[in-house]
Amino acid sequence: MRQFVTPGEELPNDTKRNEYVMVSNGKAYSNILGFYDSDRKDIVPLEGLWKPRIGDSVIGVVERPTKPGIYNVKLTEFVQGLIITSKFDSGPSFEENDVIEATVANVERKRLAILERPRKLAVGQTIYVKPVRIPRIIGKSETMVSQISRLTGARIIIGRNGIIWLNGGNVALAIEAIKKVEREAHTSGLTEKIKSMLEAEV
Protein backbone atom coordinates (compact mmCIF):
# COMPACT_ATOMS: atom_id res chain seq x y z
CA MET A 1 0.00 0.00 0.00
CA ARG A 2 1.33 3.40 -0.90
CA GLN A 3 0.14 6.49 0.84
CA PHE A 4 0.80 10.08 -0.14
CA VAL A 5 2.64 12.18 2.46
CA THR A 6 3.52 15.87 2.68
CA PRO A 7 6.06 17.66 4.89
CA GLY A 8 5.04 17.55 8.54
CA GLU A 9 2.72 14.59 8.19
CA GLU A 10 2.91 12.01 10.94
CA LEU A 11 4.18 8.55 9.98
CA PRO A 12 3.81 5.20 11.70
CA ASN A 13 6.45 4.83 14.37
CA ASP A 14 8.15 1.83 12.80
CA THR A 15 9.07 3.77 9.63
CA LYS A 16 12.68 3.28 8.60
CA ARG A 17 14.75 6.21 9.73
CA ASN A 18 16.30 7.88 6.75
CA GLU A 19 17.06 11.42 5.68
CA TYR A 20 13.40 12.06 4.87
CA VAL A 21 12.13 11.12 8.33
CA MET A 22 12.32 13.49 11.26
CA VAL A 23 11.73 12.38 14.84
CA SER A 24 10.43 14.78 17.45
CA ASN A 25 8.89 13.89 20.81
CA GLY A 26 9.13 10.21 19.94
CA LYS A 27 6.96 10.59 16.83
CA ALA A 28 8.10 10.20 13.25
CA TYR A 29 7.27 12.88 10.67
CA SER A 30 7.93 13.16 6.97
CA ASN A 31 9.89 16.18 5.87
CA ILE A 32 9.43 15.79 2.13
CA LEU A 33 6.71 15.32 -0.46
CA GLY A 34 6.58 11.61 -1.17
CA PHE A 35 4.97 8.23 -0.79
CA TYR A 36 4.92 6.10 2.32
CA ASP A 37 5.32 2.46 1.36
CA SER A 38 3.65 0.41 4.08
CA ASP A 39 5.20 -2.88 2.91
CA ARG A 40 8.78 -1.64 3.07
CA LYS A 41 7.94 0.85 5.86
CA ASP A 42 9.90 3.42 3.95
CA ILE A 43 9.51 6.89 2.46
CA VAL A 44 9.97 7.30 -1.29
CA PRO A 45 10.50 10.97 -2.21
CA LEU A 46 8.55 12.35 -5.15
CA GLU A 47 10.45 15.63 -5.34
CA GLY A 48 13.88 16.44 -4.08
CA LEU A 49 17.44 17.33 -4.73
CA TRP A 50 20.45 15.22 -5.48
CA LYS A 51 22.92 14.92 -2.65
CA PRO A 52 26.31 13.71 -3.82
CA ARG A 53 27.47 10.42 -2.34
CA ILE A 54 30.83 8.74 -2.74
CA GLY A 55 30.67 6.31 -5.65
CA ASP A 56 27.83 8.05 -7.53
CA SER A 57 28.47 8.18 -11.24
CA VAL A 58 27.65 11.61 -12.59
CA ILE A 59 27.55 13.51 -15.87
CA GLY A 60 28.54 17.16 -15.98
CA VAL A 61 29.64 20.01 -18.19
CA VAL A 62 33.18 21.39 -17.85
CA GLU A 63 33.25 25.09 -17.08
CA ARG A 64 35.83 27.62 -18.20
CA PRO A 65 39.18 26.47 -16.76
CA THR A 66 40.80 28.87 -14.33
CA LYS A 67 43.91 26.97 -13.23
CA PRO A 68 45.85 24.47 -15.35
CA GLY A 69 44.98 20.88 -14.51
CA ILE A 70 41.97 21.80 -12.37
CA TYR A 71 38.51 21.71 -13.87
CA ASN A 72 35.24 22.88 -12.44
CA VAL A 73 32.29 20.80 -13.56
CA LYS A 74 28.69 21.93 -13.32
CA LEU A 75 26.66 19.04 -11.92
CA THR A 76 23.52 20.78 -10.63
CA GLU A 77 22.58 24.28 -9.53
CA PHE A 78 23.62 23.30 -6.00
CA VAL A 79 26.52 20.91 -6.46
CA GLN A 80 29.81 21.75 -8.13
CA GLY A 81 32.22 19.08 -9.33
CA LEU A 82 36.00 19.37 -9.27
CA ILE A 83 38.58 17.39 -11.23
CA ILE A 84 42.21 17.62 -10.21
CA THR A 85 44.09 16.00 -13.07
CA SER A 86 47.54 16.09 -11.51
CA LYS A 87 46.43 13.13 -9.41
CA PHE A 88 46.17 11.02 -12.52
CA ASP A 89 49.13 9.64 -14.37
CA SER A 90 48.06 10.36 -17.91
CA GLY A 91 46.55 13.73 -17.04
CA PRO A 92 43.54 13.94 -19.35
CA SER A 93 42.75 17.43 -20.52
CA PHE A 94 39.34 18.90 -21.15
CA GLU A 95 37.97 21.98 -22.80
CA GLU A 96 35.12 24.27 -21.86
CA ASN A 97 31.66 22.73 -22.50
CA ASP A 98 32.97 19.17 -22.72
CA VAL A 99 30.46 16.68 -21.37
CA ILE A 100 32.15 14.24 -19.03
CA GLU A 101 31.25 11.20 -17.04
CA ALA A 102 32.96 10.69 -13.69
CA THR A 103 32.61 9.09 -10.27
CA VAL A 104 32.30 11.00 -7.02
CA ALA A 105 35.44 10.31 -4.97
CA ASN A 106 34.78 12.66 -2.09
CA VAL A 107 32.27 15.27 -0.95
CA GLU A 108 33.29 18.47 0.76
CA ARG A 109 30.97 20.95 2.47
CA LYS A 110 27.94 19.12 0.99
CA ARG A 111 28.18 20.96 -2.30
CA LEU A 112 31.63 20.26 -3.68
CA ALA A 113 32.09 16.83 -5.24
CA ILE A 114 35.66 15.76 -5.96
CA LEU A 115 35.48 13.62 -9.09
CA GLU A 116 37.68 10.76 -10.19
CA ARG A 117 38.04 8.67 -13.35
CA PRO A 118 36.71 11.43 -15.66
CA ARG A 119 35.92 10.39 -19.19
CA LYS A 120 34.95 12.67 -22.02
CA LEU A 121 31.70 11.65 -23.69
CA ALA A 122 31.58 11.82 -27.47
CA VAL A 123 28.95 13.71 -29.42
CA GLY A 124 25.51 12.83 -28.12
CA GLN A 125 22.43 14.31 -26.56
CA THR A 126 22.09 15.21 -22.91
CA ILE A 127 18.74 15.59 -21.21
CA TYR A 128 17.84 16.75 -17.74
CA VAL A 129 15.48 14.80 -15.50
CA LYS A 130 14.56 15.15 -11.85
CA PRO A 131 17.30 13.47 -9.78
CA VAL A 132 14.73 11.71 -7.56
CA ARG A 133 13.44 9.87 -10.62
CA ILE A 134 16.83 8.39 -11.52
CA PRO A 135 16.39 5.15 -9.49
CA ARG A 136 13.10 4.55 -11.33
CA ILE A 137 14.69 5.26 -14.71
CA ILE A 138 17.46 2.77 -13.93
CA GLY A 139 14.98 0.25 -12.54
CA LYS A 140 15.49 -2.79 -10.36
CA SER A 141 18.85 -4.28 -11.39
CA GLU A 142 18.83 -1.92 -14.39
CA THR A 143 15.80 -3.55 -16.04
CA MET A 144 14.24 -0.26 -17.18
CA VAL A 145 17.26 1.37 -18.76
CA SER A 146 18.50 -1.83 -20.38
CA GLN A 147 15.04 -2.38 -21.84
CA ILE A 148 14.88 1.14 -23.31
CA SER A 149 18.42 0.75 -24.61
CA ARG A 150 17.69 -2.63 -26.18
CA LEU A 151 14.44 -1.65 -27.88
CA THR A 152 15.62 1.72 -29.24
CA GLY A 153 19.22 0.82 -29.94
CA ALA A 154 20.41 3.93 -28.13
CA ARG A 155 23.42 4.03 -25.86
CA ILE A 156 22.33 5.51 -22.54
CA ILE A 157 24.58 6.71 -19.74
CA ILE A 158 22.85 7.93 -16.59
CA GLY A 159 24.27 10.42 -14.12
CA ARG A 160 22.91 10.37 -10.61
CA ASN A 161 22.78 14.17 -10.69
CA GLY A 162 19.90 14.08 -13.17
CA ILE A 163 21.73 14.34 -16.50
CA ILE A 164 21.32 11.54 -19.02
CA TRP A 165 23.49 11.16 -22.10
CA LEU A 166 22.21 9.34 -25.18
CA ASN A 167 23.75 8.44 -28.50
CA GLY A 168 22.91 6.29 -31.51
CA GLY A 169 19.77 4.35 -32.40
CA ASN A 170 16.37 5.97 -32.05
CA VAL A 171 17.36 8.70 -29.59
CA ALA A 172 14.07 10.59 -29.89
CA LEU A 173 12.08 7.51 -28.88
CA ALA A 174 14.45 6.75 -26.01
CA ILE A 175 14.04 10.33 -24.72
CA GLU A 176 10.28 10.02 -25.00
CA ALA A 177 10.38 6.79 -22.97
CA ILE A 178 12.64 8.32 -20.30
CA LYS A 179 10.40 11.37 -20.01
CA LYS A 180 7.40 9.07 -19.63
CA VAL A 181 9.14 7.23 -16.80
CA GLU A 182 9.96 10.57 -15.20
CA ARG A 183 6.34 11.72 -15.41
CA GLU A 184 4.79 8.46 -14.22
CA ALA A 185 7.44 7.31 -11.77
CA HIS A 186 4.88 6.95 -8.98
CA THR A 187 2.67 4.48 -10.85
CA SER A 188 3.18 0.73 -10.80
CA GLY A 189 3.73 -1.69 -13.68
CA LEU A 190 5.81 0.89 -15.51
CA THR A 191 8.33 -1.50 -17.06
CA GLU A 192 5.50 -3.31 -18.88
CA LYS A 193 3.94 0.00 -20.01
CA ILE A 194 7.23 1.23 -21.43
CA LYS A 195 7.80 -2.11 -23.12
CA SER A 196 4.44 -2.04 -24.91
CA MET A 197 4.92 1.65 -25.79
CA LEU A 198 8.33 1.00 -27.34
CA GLU A 199 7.28 -2.16 -29.11
CA ALA A 200 4.34 -0.35 -30.69
CA GLU A 201 6.66 2.37 -31.98
CA VAL A 202 9.50 0.24 -33.27
Partner: protein, 241 residues
Protein backbone atom coordinates in the same frame (compact mmCIF):
# COMPACT_ATOMS: atom_id res chain seq x y z
CA UNK B 1 -9.52 55.68 2.93
CA UNK B 2 -10.01 54.15 6.34
CA UNK B 3 -11.42 56.63 8.77
CA UNK B 4 -13.78 56.37 11.69
CA UNK B 5 -15.99 59.11 10.22
CA UNK B 6 -17.30 57.26 7.18
CA UNK B 7 -17.08 53.80 8.70
CA UNK B 8 -19.57 51.42 7.10
CA UNK B 9 -21.65 48.95 9.08
CA UNK B 10 -19.52 45.80 8.90
CA UNK B 11 -21.94 43.43 10.61
CA UNK B 12 -25.54 43.26 9.44
CA UNK B 13 -28.00 40.85 11.11
CA UNK B 14 -25.21 38.83 12.69
CA UNK B 15 -23.50 38.26 9.33
CA UNK B 16 -20.51 39.97 7.78
CA UNK B 17 -20.73 42.10 4.64
CA UNK B 18 -20.03 39.19 2.30
CA UNK B 19 -22.52 36.98 4.13
CA UNK B 20 -19.96 34.98 6.11
CA UNK B 21 -20.21 33.91 9.73
CA UNK B 22 -17.65 35.25 12.18
CA UNK B 23 -15.51 32.09 11.98
CA UNK B 24 -15.96 31.36 8.31
CA UNK B 25 -13.16 31.33 5.74
CA UNK B 26 -13.46 32.68 2.25
CA UNK B 27 -13.46 29.94 -0.42
CA UNK B 28 -9.92 28.66 -0.88
CA UNK B 29 -8.46 26.91 -3.92
CA UNK B 30 -4.83 25.98 -4.56
CA UNK B 31 -3.19 24.48 -7.60
CA UNK B 32 0.41 23.30 -7.39
CA UNK B 33 3.07 22.90 -10.07
CA UNK B 34 1.74 25.56 -12.44
CA UNK B 35 5.04 27.02 -13.70
CA UNK B 36 7.38 24.89 -15.77
CA UNK B 37 10.62 26.80 -15.24
CA UNK B 38 10.31 27.08 -11.48
CA UNK B 39 11.49 24.27 -9.23
CA UNK B 40 8.18 24.50 -7.41
CA UNK B 41 5.14 26.72 -7.82
CA UNK B 42 1.59 27.24 -6.67
CA UNK B 43 -1.39 29.33 -7.68
CA UNK B 44 -3.87 30.28 -5.00
CA UNK B 45 -7.35 31.75 -5.06
CA UNK B 46 -8.63 32.84 -1.69
CA UNK B 47 -11.82 34.84 -1.92
CA UNK B 48 -10.86 37.58 -4.36
CA UNK B 49 -7.13 37.16 -3.73
CA UNK B 50 -5.11 35.71 -6.58
CA UNK B 51 -1.55 34.75 -5.71
CA UNK B 52 1.24 33.11 -7.67
CA UNK B 53 4.21 31.68 -5.75
CA UNK B 54 7.40 30.28 -7.27
CA UNK B 55 10.48 28.71 -5.71
CA UNK B 56 13.93 28.47 -7.28
CA UNK B 57 17.00 26.81 -5.87
CA UNK B 58 18.89 25.95 -3.79
CA UNK B 59 21.57 27.54 -5.93
CA UNK B 60 24.74 29.48 -5.36
CA UNK B 61 23.99 32.57 -3.28
CA UNK B 62 24.35 35.74 -5.32
CA UNK B 63 25.78 38.27 -4.56
CA UNK B 64 28.46 36.15 -2.92
CA UNK B 65 28.64 38.18 0.31
CA UNK B 66 25.07 37.12 1.18
CA UNK B 67 26.15 33.45 1.38
CA UNK B 68 26.51 31.82 4.77
CA UNK B 69 29.07 28.96 4.74
CA UNK B 70 27.27 27.14 7.56
CA UNK B 71 23.70 27.21 6.28
CA UNK B 72 21.51 28.22 3.38
CA UNK B 73 19.73 31.54 3.16
CA UNK B 74 16.12 32.17 2.18
CA UNK B 75 15.41 35.14 -0.04
CA UNK B 76 11.85 36.22 -0.37
CA UNK B 77 10.28 38.74 -2.69
CA UNK B 78 6.68 39.70 -2.07
CA UNK B 79 5.33 41.93 -4.75
CA UNK B 80 1.96 43.29 -5.72
CA UNK B 81 1.20 43.54 -9.39
CA UNK B 82 0.42 47.10 -10.51
CA UNK B 83 -3.10 45.99 -11.43
CA UNK B 84 -3.71 44.08 -8.22
CA UNK B 85 -5.57 46.58 -6.09
CA UNK B 86 -8.13 49.32 -6.12
CA UNK B 87 -5.71 52.22 -6.23
CA UNK B 88 -3.96 52.52 -2.93
CA UNK B 89 -1.85 49.34 -3.21
CA UNK B 90 -1.59 49.61 -6.95
CA UNK B 91 2.08 50.51 -7.21
CA UNK B 92 4.44 47.74 -8.15
CA UNK B 93 7.99 47.29 -6.95
CA UNK B 94 9.62 47.11 -3.55
CA UNK B 95 7.95 49.79 -1.50
CA UNK B 96 8.09 50.00 2.27
CA UNK B 97 5.16 47.64 2.77
CA UNK B 98 6.48 45.01 0.32
CA UNK B 99 9.91 45.02 1.99
CA UNK B 100 8.32 44.42 5.39
CA UNK B 101 6.16 41.56 4.15
CA UNK B 102 9.11 40.00 2.32
CA UNK B 103 11.07 40.07 5.56
CA UNK B 104 8.40 38.49 7.76
CA UNK B 105 7.69 35.84 5.12
CA UNK B 106 11.39 35.02 4.89
CA UNK B 107 11.52 34.57 8.66
CA UNK B 108 8.54 32.21 8.60
CA UNK B 109 10.29 29.89 6.13
CA UNK B 110 13.71 30.14 7.79
CA UNK B 111 12.11 28.36 10.72
CA UNK B 112 10.79 25.37 8.79
CA UNK B 113 13.35 24.70 6.04
CA UNK B 114 16.32 22.48 6.92
CA UNK B 115 18.79 25.23 6.04
CA UNK B 116 21.88 23.40 7.27
CA UNK B 117 21.42 21.02 4.33
CA UNK B 118 22.31 23.79 1.88
CA UNK B 119 25.43 25.63 3.09
CA UNK B 120 26.54 28.53 0.95
CA UNK B 121 23.41 28.62 -1.15
CA UNK B 122 20.13 30.44 -1.39
CA UNK B 123 16.52 29.48 -1.88
CA UNK B 124 14.46 32.08 -3.71
CA UNK B 125 10.78 32.45 -2.90
CA UNK B 126 8.78 34.75 -5.14
CA UNK B 127 5.25 35.77 -4.21
CA UNK B 128 3.31 37.78 -6.75
CA UNK B 129 -0.08 39.17 -5.80
CA UNK B 130 -2.14 39.31 -8.97
CA UNK B 131 -5.32 40.52 -7.31
CA UNK B 132 -5.65 41.67 -3.74
CA UNK B 133 -8.56 41.72 -1.35
CA UNK B 134 -7.07 41.79 2.12
CA UNK B 135 -4.97 39.16 3.83
CA UNK B 136 -2.49 38.87 0.99
CA UNK B 137 0.48 38.22 3.24
CA UNK B 138 -1.33 35.21 4.71
CA UNK B 139 -2.33 34.08 1.23
CA UNK B 140 1.26 34.52 0.03
CA UNK B 141 2.69 32.40 2.86
CA UNK B 142 0.07 29.68 2.31
CA UNK B 143 0.88 29.55 -1.43
CA UNK B 144 4.65 29.70 -0.92
CA UNK B 145 4.54 26.75 1.50
CA UNK B 146 2.91 24.64 -1.22
CA UNK B 147 5.47 25.84 -3.77
CA UNK B 148 8.35 24.91 -1.43
CA UNK B 149 6.96 21.41 -0.87
CA UNK B 150 6.49 21.08 -4.63
CA UNK B 151 10.15 22.06 -5.10
CA UNK B 152 11.22 19.09 -2.98
CA UNK B 153 12.88 21.21 -0.32
CA UNK B 154 13.07 19.45 3.02
CA UNK B 155 10.83 21.17 5.55
CA UNK B 156 9.74 20.48 9.08
CA UNK B 157 6.17 21.34 8.26
CA UNK B 158 3.73 22.73 5.71
CA UNK B 159 3.02 26.19 7.07
CA UNK B 160 -0.29 27.97 6.66
CA UNK B 161 -1.29 31.53 7.46
CA UNK B 162 -4.59 33.28 8.02
CA UNK B 163 -5.66 36.43 9.77
CA UNK B 164 -8.06 37.05 12.61
CA UNK B 165 -9.56 40.43 13.40
CA UNK B 166 -12.02 42.30 15.55
CA UNK B 167 -15.14 44.18 14.47
CA UNK B 168 -16.63 45.89 17.50
CA UNK B 169 -17.01 43.15 20.11
CA UNK B 170 -16.86 40.33 17.62
CA UNK B 171 -13.70 38.38 16.81
CA UNK B 172 -13.74 37.42 13.14
CA UNK B 173 -11.67 35.16 10.94
CA UNK B 174 -10.00 35.88 7.59
CA UNK B 175 -10.70 39.59 7.24
CA UNK B 176 -11.08 40.95 3.72
CA UNK B 177 -10.07 44.32 2.36
CA UNK B 178 -13.01 46.40 3.55
CA UNK B 179 -13.01 44.80 6.98
CA UNK B 180 -9.25 45.29 7.17
CA UNK B 181 -9.61 48.99 6.41
CA UNK B 182 -12.37 49.71 8.90
CA UNK B 183 -12.08 47.00 11.57
CA UNK B 184 -10.73 47.54 15.08
CA UNK B 185 -8.00 44.90 14.89
CA UNK B 186 -6.29 42.75 12.28
CA UNK B 187 -3.94 39.94 13.28
CA UNK B 188 -2.28 37.79 10.61
CA UNK B 189 -0.76 34.59 11.96
CA UNK B 190 1.39 31.88 10.38
CA UNK B 191 1.30 28.52 12.09
CA UNK B 192 3.14 25.25 11.80
CA UNK B 193 0.20 22.81 12.09
CA UNK B 194 2.20 19.89 13.48
CA UNK B 195 2.52 21.40 16.94
CA UNK B 196 0.71 24.72 16.42
CA UNK B 197 3.91 26.73 16.73
CA UNK B 198 3.38 30.38 15.86
CA UNK B 199 5.82 31.56 13.20
CA UNK B 200 4.29 34.94 12.47
CA UNK B 201 2.08 37.18 14.55
CA UNK B 202 1.49 40.78 13.64
CA UNK B 203 -1.27 43.02 14.86
CA UNK B 204 -2.90 46.28 13.90
CA UNK B 205 -5.38 47.77 16.35
CA UNK B 206 -6.09 46.16 19.69
CA UNK B 207 -7.41 42.95 21.21
CA UNK B 208 -7.81 42.11 24.88
CA UNK B 209 -6.48 38.80 26.27
CA UNK B 210 -9.78 37.00 25.87
CA UNK B 211 -10.25 38.19 22.29
CA UNK B 212 -6.66 37.28 21.42
CA UNK B 213 -7.24 33.76 22.70
CA UNK B 214 -10.49 33.49 20.81
CA UNK B 215 -8.80 34.72 17.63
CA UNK B 216 -5.99 32.19 17.98
CA UNK B 217 -8.44 29.35 18.52
CA UNK B 218 -10.34 30.42 15.40
CA UNK B 219 -7.11 30.50 13.39
CA UNK B 220 -6.04 27.04 14.56
CA UNK B 221 -9.49 25.62 13.85
CA UNK B 222 -9.46 27.16 10.34
CA UNK B 223 -5.93 25.84 9.84
CA UNK B 224 -7.26 22.30 9.63
CA UNK B 225 -9.25 23.30 6.54
CA UNK B 226 -6.38 25.27 5.00
CA UNK B 227 -3.86 22.46 5.60
CA UNK B 228 -6.16 20.00 3.93
CA UNK B 229 -6.51 22.21 0.85
CA UNK B 230 -2.70 22.55 0.70
CA UNK B 231 -2.14 18.80 0.97
CA UNK B 232 -4.85 18.03 -1.59
CA UNK B 233 -3.25 20.49 -4.03
CA UNK B 234 0.07 18.66 -3.75
CA UNK B 235 -1.61 15.29 -4.06
CA UNK B 236 -3.48 16.39 -7.18
CA UNK B 237 -0.22 16.81 -9.13
CA UNK B 238 0.29 13.07 -9.05
CA UNK B 239 -3.31 12.02 -9.44
CA UNK B 240 -4.10 13.80 -12.70
CA UNK B 241 -1.48 11.83 -14.63
Amino acid sequence: MASSLNKPELIVNGKRLDGRDFNELRPLKIEANVLKNAQGSAYLEWGNNRVLAAVYGPKEAMPRHTADPTKGVVKCRYSMAPFSGLGEHGRSGPNRRAIEISKVTKEVFENVIFLNEFPGSEIDVFIEILQSDGGTRAAGITAAAVALANAGIKMKDLVYAVSAGRIGDHVVLDVNMIEDNYSDADMPMAISPKNNEILLLQMDGGLDTKQLKEGMEMVIEAGKVISKVQRDALKAIYESK
